[in-house]
């Protein structure tokens, strides 16, 4: 049963990735702005424009270009950047570690903040603790990263001098972008943990656990939190996908050389192959994380395998 479930999820994921590939390829060619114009400028003669179009393969009918793209993709050839002339595989390999590093650090920040806050808010429901935790969560969700980032820089880098302003040089440079990115996620997660925990706190099994004489900490962490984490896992999986797909604003603010800033630069330059490859990379990571989340969910809750998600 589980194998069938696995196969069905993987096939669906492949279909989604193929859909994204098609969508990105055709939409990108519909967007105004021609890479040849961007590269040559208006001074180029029509003959030069035609020569460059030919050199880049942009003179071919769109379906032929798409065929070539798919053929290359099937051989894991992502192509070459129109602009920098560098293989896109190298560009991605250069940027991916930075994005993964930032994503994981942000997730860690989020979990370290969200779990205690969520538990505190649920256990101390409708007290000053709960209101305080709700306030912190509201603060985290409401503040946009483009404001939070510079504020953290001002305090952490300029006033205190503890961290570098931006860039990816040394471990200290990871702290501020991870805090910026992690805070918003922490806010969402803490609210989710609170509501999920509140749902299970008065369940029969919780009363049983308490009746067995277990310490309240054990009751909450081992019995309550474990059951409350099911919806949280889904959210973490989806958010991790978002984090690994590059946090465009945070990466821009902190000059973090990740996937997000690469795709923004490529869109501005109409560097089609880089945009296509980056979006493909993002969608693959998203879909893979979704599949992994589903599998984890299925492992935790056997009802999912039977197609009846709780």
């Amino acid at each position: 049963m589980f194998i069938r479930f696995l196969i069905s999820r993987v096939l669906t994921a492949l279909a989604v990735v193929f859909g994204v590939v098609c969508l990105v390829f055709f939409l990108l060619h519909l967007v105004p702005g021609d890479p040849v114009e961007v590269m040559l400028g208006e001074s180029a003669r029509p003959a030069d424009r035609a020569a460059l179009q030919q050199a880049l393969g942009l003179d071919l009918p769109l379906h032929v270009q798409f065929g070539h793209y798919l053929a290359n993709l099937s051989q894991f050839d992502l192509g070459t950047s129109f602009y920098s002339k560098r293989p896109i595989r190298d560009l991605l390999l250069e940027r991916l570690p930075a994005t993964v590093e930032l994503g994981m650090a942000a997730l860690l920040v989020a979990l370290l903040l969200a779990i205690p806050l969520g538990i505190l808010a649920a256990v101390k429901k409708e007290t000053a603790w709960d209101i305080g935790a709700t306030g912190v969560a509201l603060f985290g969700v409401s503040i946009p990263n483009f404001w939070m980032g510079p504020m953290l820089i001002l305090v952490g880098a300029l006033w205190l001098g503890w961290f570098p302003v931006s860039g990816r040089e040394g471990i200290a440079s990871l702290v501020l972008p991870a805090l910026t990115l992690g805070t918003a996620l922490a806010a969402i997660l803490s609210r989710m943990i609170r509501s999920a925990l509140l749902e299970v706190l008065n369940e029969d099994f919780m009363r049983t656990a308490r009746g067995k004489g277990l310490a309240e900490r054990t009751v909450i962490l081992r019995h309550g939190l474990r059951n409350a984490l099911l919806p949280v896992i889904t959210l973490v999986g989806l958010q991790l996908g978002a984090l690994l797909s590059g946090a465009v604003i945070t990466e821009t603010v902190f000059s973090w050389p990740g996937i997000g800033s690469l795709v923004v630069e490529a869109i501005h330059r109409r560097d089609y192959p880089v945009v296509q490859a980056t979006v493909l990379c993002i969608s693959v990571s998203y879909v893979a994380l979704n599949v992994l989340t589903d599998l984890a969910y299925a492992r935790i809750d056997p009802r999912v395998r039977l197609g009846s998600r709780p």
Binding site: R45, K85, E94, G213, A215, S255, P257
Partner: protein
């Protein structure tokens, strides 16, 4: 089997010392694991080098292909070129001086080999020929080919001389030879110069750890320079204040420049620039093709106030596409005065009134500063009875619309203008896109005649005369409303000395930059 005795401890988590200790141990292990992972992932700290902040990374370090301004400025440090420009934008010898043997034949003499390539080989006339031959070969799709199509063929009589034969006489020709020279043997070997550039300039390439960092070595004293890309202007300014970069040039909003000027650790240098901001109009549109309307707009804009309060004084009013100090620039053009009453009168003469105001769609890019400027212009035009519908688009869409002529009014800037043949490209009726940048579809037989006369002129003096007449004609016809030339701003830590600013905003000043000893401050 006994049931566990119910706890008599208070029902709150983490209350006993043992539990707290356990929690701390778990947390410590987690942090230790994280540290190991992160230390492994992160790169080392920055070195003691001159650090220059950039708004955008150079896109291509191969001068045969680079087109963006940042690449052009960095490539000037890496590669030498045959010809350069002086302060009045006249071509002057760089690697070579020249003589004109006939109207279509120039001979260039390379100066003594002071500049070997960074791989140790000597720069010869063969390298120059190989560079230009490569660009002229249509198969290579170099973006610079269009500007060099005047070249018929290139010959190398000896190692230090080369002859350029032209298709037609072009007195401006030496000014076209400003592309960095690359080694012939590397062209033949298809060496990836965009990744590992090798030129003969004052700086050599060291490394490019990632797209945001570029390391160069100043050959003269083996000083290391790091170019660090920081796209966000606020963060770039904060980085300068924190001492993480030593200097930067341009690309900061005026209010940020004013803020940095008040920081005693920093110094701000300014020089007049030549980047020309303007309002463009469609001549295919029934409203904006009316001379009265364009002139009314020109008189309704208070350029001095905008320069003083919005641009923080970092600009000067413009009267023409070429600045007055340019050898072909007009110095005697009447300034466009701010005269709202005159603007209202002109609109009235054009048949508009308060009840039937002029309505114009004004397109601009999505750059926040450009939108702010556009909003101010919208307000000023409103005060004379012109209703402006302001629309901002992302760069690709905006630029596409402008080239396609889908606009009534737009604002843009011309950057890096050196030679006056820009007039042909921008105002001649044959230069309507895709054949040029006459985006407004301006058709004037008089302007065409001046441009053609300038183009056919046998020497610079005659060319200059025609270009001056043309600029007077354009000041009357107003296909553009000239706004201002933005200044170049260089901001550095106080200990940075020796940087000289260029009118075109190049980074050549880095060749002489130095750090003063702490006790000298």
């Amino acid at each position: 089997m006994f049931n566990r005795i119910p706890s008599i401890r208070p029902e709150t988590p983490f209350t006993s010392i043992r539990e707290i200790v356990k929690a701390v141990i778990i947390l410590k292990r987690l942090c230790a694991f994280l540290l190991i992972v992160l230390v492994a992932a992160c790169t080392g700290p920055a070195s003691d080098a001159f650090r220059f902040g950039l708004a955008g990374a150079p896109a291509n370090l191969d001068p045969r292909f680079a087109t963006d301004a940042t690449s052009a400025r960095i490539n000037r440090l890496l590669y030498d070129r045959l010809v350069d420009f002086n302060d009045t934008f006249e071509p002057v010898p760089a690697l070579a001086d020249w003589e004109q043997l006939s109207p279509t034949h120039y001979r260039f003499h390379l100066k003594t080999n002071e500049h070997p390539f960074h791989d140790g080989t000597m720069l010869t006339a063969h390298d120059v020929k190989a560079t230009y031959d490569f660009i002229l070969n249509a198969d290579n799709a170099s973006p610079h080919r269009a500007s060099l199509t005047v070249i018929n063929r290139i010959a190398v009589p000896n190692e230090t001389s080369l002859d350029f034969f032209l298709h037609y006489p072009e007195p401006l020709f030496p000014g076209y030879l400003v592309i960095g020279i690359v080694p012939a043997h590397l062209i033949a070997a298809n060496h990836p110069l965009h990744e590992r550039p090798i030129g003969s300039g004052p700086f050599s390439f060291l490394a490019r750890p990632d797209e945001t960092r570029l390391h160069l070595l100043r050959i003269r004293d083996q000083r290391r320079f790091e170019f660090i890309t920081v796209p966000d202007p606020t963060v770039r300014a904060l980085k300068l204040m924190a001492g993480e970069i030593d200097m930067l040039q341009n690309d900061l909003p005026p209010e940020l420049i004013g803020y940095l000027e008040n920081d005693s650790r920093l110094k701000v240098l300014r020089t007049s620039g030549t980047n020309f901001s303007y309002l463009g109009f469609s001549f295919d549109d029934a409203v904006t093709r009316q001379a009265y309307v364009r002139r009314a707009i020109a008189h309704a804009i208070n350029r001095r106030e905008i320069i003083q309060y919005v641009l923080d004084g970092a600009a000067r009013p413009a009267q023409s596409l070429l600045p007055p100090e340019h050898w072909a620039g007009a110095q005697d053009l009447d300034p466009i005065t701010y005269d709202p009453e005159k603007a209202r009168t002109l609109l009235h003469q054009a048949g508009y009134s308060r009840d039937d105001p002029v309505r114009i769609v004004y397109k601009t890019s999505s750059d926040p500063f450009r939108i702010r400027l556009a909003t101010i212009l919208q307000h000023q035009l409103k005060s004379v009875g012109i209703d402006v519908d302001l629309r901002s688009y992302d760069w690709g869409t905006f630029y596409g619309d402008i080239k396609a002529g889908r606009f009534q009014m737009y604002s843009l800037a011309w950057v890096g203008i050196h030679t006056p043949d820009i007039f042909d490209y921008v105002f001649h009726s044959r230069s309507i896109p895709p054949n040029g940048a006459n985006r407004g579809r301006f058709r004037s037989t008089q302007a065409d005649a001046f441009i053609d006369r300038a183009r056919a002129a046998p020497n610079l003096e005659t060319k200059q005369e025609s270009y001056l007449q043309l600029q007077h004609h354009l000041a009357d016809a107003l296909p553009y409303v000239p706004l201002w030339y933005e200044d170049h701003i260089f901001i550095a830590r106080r200990e940075i000395e020796g940087f000289t600013m260029a009118r075109d905003g190049n980074y050549d000043g880095l060749t002489h930059v130095r750090r003063s000893p702490p006790d000298a401050l």
